[in-house]
Amino acid sequence: MSLIRRDSGEVEALITDRYLDSLLAIQPTADRDRGPLGAELRADASIGAAVRAVSRRLATDLPRFHPSFRFEERLALRLAEVAASMRLPIAAGGEGQAMAIRELHPALPDPLRVAGDDEDDRDARPLLIGGAVAASALSLAGAWLAWRRRTSPMTRAIRAAHQLRLPGGGA
């Protein structure tokens, strides 16, 4: 193919492209073959009559399909689930916030607390729970406290009962 022929082909393609830009800019689709602008485009002699006619025909005749409403909502639900699962890692630490455990429930005393049952002062330190919801925070806090304590609540209850039974409260 000669250079001139190739260039003329590219020029034709460029003119056709501009024509399509104008044609597809007309809304709605039904007016593309009618109306003043449609008539102007129909009479546009800058491109060949065949290409012009086919362009108008395809712009009018090729429909855009929409899936069923059922599919649309099913996929929307699936995307919402995916979105929720993507938000979990953020909730678990991506946006960390310092939360003091003792401030979660300051009014609640430990019902199984026994005099002499030594608690470490380090319990008062804030725990870093990244943006977790309250329920998750409480679960983590509970797990953390259980780990911190050297004795289980059951052990401490037995120990307290034993102290009450013994005269003088001694072991």
Partner: protein, 216 residues
């Protein structure tokens, strides 16, 4: 600070930024990046377009649904990797998100075709894709429309894809170039040649002009 200093220097004066923020989907994309639940707005905006593209390419409702679902799930899970790269030449309505989305759709459609080929129960060995207008006859009854689609369906792969993206999804040439990974000039020539092929196929000649052909 460094950028400002660079701008004052003589060398940078001519360095017009090639990347402009023109993506009309930007607010929705940024919202979805902050909160994935906000992706729903982008999904609703592009569902019909992506589905149409898949349907025209695959010619089967179920296959088109599968490809559409895979496209949107992939887009959502990879949204943080998307970078806006619209250029001033792309025009006011330029949307790199939609180019990116159709790139994903194109890959998913190709994957769906591969999967269909592995399923011997459904013979789709033909080079011409199935005619969705046969299925949609209730909505589109005109023989001319059917003939037009068949003519487009007989085009080879990239020409057909370019035509569907241009006429059905109404993407610009620059956007189609981004989707197909070709230059804008190549896409213009691709579409121009495709139009001439369709005109021949439909029996529309230079002499007949706007007359509607009878071939189908």
């Amino acid at each position: 600070m460094a950028r400002r200093a660079l701008w004052r220097s003589g060398a940078a004066k001519d360095a017009v930024p090639r990347i402009a923020h023109l993506d009309r989907d930007r607010p929705l994309v940024e919202a979805a990046k902050r909160d994935p639940a906000r992706f729903d707005a982008l999904y609703r905006r592009y569902l019909a377009r992506v589905y149409s593209y898949a349907y025209y390419e695959l010619g089967d409702h179920h296959a088109a649904e599968d490809a559409t679902a895979a496209t949107f799930v992939s887009a959502l899970t990879n949204l943080d990797r998307f970078e806006e790269r619209a250029r001033p030449a792309d025009g006011e309505g330029a949307s790199t998100f939609r180019v990116w989305l159709f790139q994903i759709a194109r890959n998913e459609v190709a994957g769906e075709r591969r999967r269909a080929r592995r399923r011997p129960t459904e013979p789709i060995g033909e080079t011409v894709v199935a005619d969705p207008l046969d299925v949609e006859s209730a909505a589109v009854r005109r023989d001319e429309a059917r003939a037009a689609w068949r003519a487009v369906g007989r085009l080879p792969g990239e020409r057909r894809q370019a035509m569907v993206l241009r006429f059905v999804d109404e993407l610009s040439t620059a956007e189609i170039a981004g989707v197909l990974g070709r230059s804008e000039g190549a896409v213009r020539v691709l579409i121009h040649r495709a139009l001439r092929s369709v005109a021949r196929d439909l029996g529309v000649s230079e002499r007949s002009g706007g007359e509607r052909g009878s071939a189908s």
